[in-house]
């Protein structure tokens, strides 16, 4: 029962190194950029004084150093993005046309495999279900709740309750919900809330996470549970920024709350609504932790990101894993284009 702090020392020393590196890199960069130009300025001044004393023509105006500053300010970001994101992404695209060991080119085989192998088609279909249901349900619930608690008593507390799951990791959320879905044999006392409800309604307890396709829906519930808070916060802010005179005018016209929602609130918050749907869609496409923690992709619940991890890092199939990653990227593109077109349209109207 004792905890050995000495064992932890190397980690803390490493943390210290990390912080020292941070201070040196950032502090060094700023000091360098401060001191070097000052040094040059002093030298130029000295030369200027010397030149005027000798009667020689003064040196010309110094060149602008804007470009130099920009280079140093941007250098760390650009280098890291190149090494960490741009080059790897290009390389992944290349790898997706090669075999598992990344030795030989195999053309489109990996992509053909993706759409031919039954288990992978299943994965793609599951992803489709996720990306249709999660944004729809999470946004609807978030919007409903935002409207319901708007200007209510205890609004802040009420919002915090829904928003809180955003602070919980997907792994933690999965454990929380697995406990809700927990199963004990018939006749035994249930420990999972869902089965307890089933039993008290007179039904038999079920092993929720083993039954396909219901298990995928139950995993989707977890994602909705997390994302609804995000939708609620953004939409609530949008609702609050609807100009008061529009709302007041509608009231004077005698609209009921129902009409108010469909004819005033909804059109006014359309841009925010689109942003929320797009953001949640992209997050859902990449969902990994929930599936891995809840079922590890078994019982027909796997999704693209999970399969990509399995192929590339468990089965050593770099080619097939990369093909899945590229496909994931391809799926994101139409969503982003939709978003950009909407923004443009908004600007033109605005």
């Amino acid at each position: 029962m004792e905890f050995d702090f000495a064992e932890q020392a190397p980690k803390l020393i490493m943390l210290l190194w990390g912080l020292v590196a941070f201070a040196v890199v950032i502090g060094g960069l700023l000091v360098l950029l401060d001191a070097v130009p000052a040094f040059f300025a002093r030298r130029r001044e000295a030369r200027f004084v010397a030149a005027t004393a000798n009667g020689a023509p003064p040196p010309g105006r110094p060149r602008s150093r804007e470009g130099l500053f920009a280079t140093f300010f941007l250098l760390p970001t650009v280098v890291l993005l190149l090494i960490g994101l741009v080059v790897p992404a290009l390389r992944t695209t290349l790898l997706s046309f090669m075999d598992g060991g990344s030795q030989n080119f195999v053309g489109l085989d990996n992509y053909r495999w993706m759409f031919a192998d039954d288990s992978i088609v299943r994965v793609l279909l599951n992803t489709l279900v996720w990306v249709t249901l999660v944004p729809l349900v999470a946004t609807s619930i978030g919007l409903l709740y935002a409207v319901l608690v708007d200007r209510a008593r205890l609004e802040v507390v009420a919002k915090s309750l829904i928003f809180m799951p955003m602070a919980i990791s997907f792994v933690g959320a999965s454990i929380i919900w697995r406990f809700v879905y927990a199963y004990r044999g018939q006749g035994e006392e249930q420990i999972g809330l869902l089965n307890q409800i089933m039993v008290s309604l007179g039904a038999e307890p079920r092993q929720w996470l083993l039954d396909s396709p219901l298990n995928t829906l139950l995993l989707i519930v977890i994602m909705v549970w997390i994302q609804a808070g995000f939708a609620m916060v953004v939409l609530s802010a949008a609702i609050k920024s609807i100009p008061a005179d529009i709302v007041e005018a509608a009231r004077l016209d005698g609209v009921n709350p129902w009409q108010m929602f469909w004819q005033v609130t909804l059109p006014s918050i359309r841009p925010a609504l689109i942003v929320v749907v797009v953001t949640i869609s992209i997050a859902t496409l990449k969902v990994f932790d929930i599936v891995r923690t809840s079922t590890n992709g078994n019982y027909d619940t796997s999704v693209i990101a999970n399969e990509m991890y399995n192929q590339a890092f468990r089965y050593g199939q770099n080619g097939q894993g990369s093909a899945l990653a590229v496909f994931l990227f391809v799926l994101v593109i139409p969503i982003v284009i939709f978003q950009i077109r909407n923004l443009r349209q908004q600007r033109r109207e605005g």
Partner: protein, 321 residues
């Protein structure tokens, strides 16, 4: 409440009494339905967490045989689960204290580095004139849509084998061991965070008043000085917003940690260990409940105490799009 009686009654006395009464009854009904709806959603959203929380304090034999709701009939309280999961020495216990430190060591630099680099870059993109500025910004902005899955395989091989082109080693392998592996995770998190960080901070920094910047330039302040003395203090709330964002992201991340931190007690964070416990000991609820709470408590504190900044960042990052 949601629908207060509109303050227009004085102006519209012509409306006959019957219909006002009907609409008032309707309105009250509406309000009541709305309240009930809101309460139901709030309960559904809170109960699962609450159930887990209560369970984490119940003795193992109780926890495994009866539902957590029986706690209120027959309260039995223990801290044994937390004791076991944090400090237990057997292999099957969580040993989470050690992983907790790993999470901390991973998170702090993974927040600081992208924060500083992105602030510098965002300043340059907003206030320094140079050729190709807009294109660079659009490029970084566009990188936001590249899923990090696209980078995982090559980045891992970069760490383990370095980069060589046609037999010439361009960059050597990192060859890290033990605690040094943290550097790998910091690097990966920093890279993946930068596009969003630059975008979010640029939104704030580019909106600082132009007069202020020009006045500072006229006074002879250099860019580093303006950055340090004017920009940083003014955008402190934005820095806080991104800091919280990144903190939650890194602390709660599983994928990046799985691949770059390895699975051992030496470097793996809480999420990796919890996922492992959930996989191999899925029915050891006394460990899972307490373990889940150990991992949740830090982000929850950060989140609840700094929620204001977080929401502001969220709105700036998503709505301005």
């Amino acid at each position: 409440m949601t629908t207060t009686t509109p303050p227009v009654a004085a102006g519209t006395q012509a409306v006959d009494k019957r219909s006002t009464r009907v609409s008032r009854v309707r309105k009250r009904l509406n309000t009541r339905i709305a309240t009930v709806c809101a309460i139901v959603i709030a309960i559904v959203w809170t109960i699962p967490t609450f159930g887990l929380f209560v369970s984490s304090f119940r003795p193992e034999d109780q926890l495994k045989t009866t539902g957590w709701w029986t706690f209120f009939r027959d309260p039995q309280f223990t801290l044994q689960n937390y004791q076991d999961v944090l400090f237990g020495q057997s292999a099957s216990s969580g040993r989470l204290a050690s992983y907790f430190i790993n999470s901390l060591v991973i998170t702090v630099p993974s927040v600081l580095f992208p924060l500083a680099f992105a602030a510098l870059a965002a300043y340059a993109l907003a206030w320094i004139n140079f050729r190709g500025r807009d294109w660079l910004y659009i490029g970084i902005f566009a990188l936001q849509i590249v899923p990090l899955q696209m980078a995982l395989v090559p980045l891992l091989s970069f760490f383990s084998r370095g980069v060589s082109l046609g037999g010439v080693t361009l960059l050597p392998a990192w060859n890290l061991d033990g605690a040094q592996n943290f550097a790998q995770v910091w690097f990966a998190h920093t890279c993946f965070a930068l596009p969003f960080a630059v975008f979010l901070l640029h939104n704030f920094i580019s909106q600082l008043p132009k007069d202020l910047m020009e006045a500072a330039r006229v006074d002879g302040a250099t860019h580093p000085r303006i950055f340090r003395t004017i920009v940083l203090p003014l955008v402190a709330p934005a820095l806080a917003a991104f800091g919280i964002f990144q903190f939650l992201w890194v602390w709660n991340d599983l994928l990046v940690a799985l691949i770059f931190a390895g699975g051992g007690e030496g470097t793996a964070p809480l999420t990796v260990r919890l996922a492992e416990l959930a996989g191999t000991r899925g029915n050891e609820w006394q460990r899972l409940t307490a373990g889940a709470f150990v991992s949740i408590v830090v982000p929850l504190i950060v989140f609840l105490s700094l929620q204001r900044y977080f929401v502001r960042g969220l709105l700036a990052g998503s709505v301005k799009g």
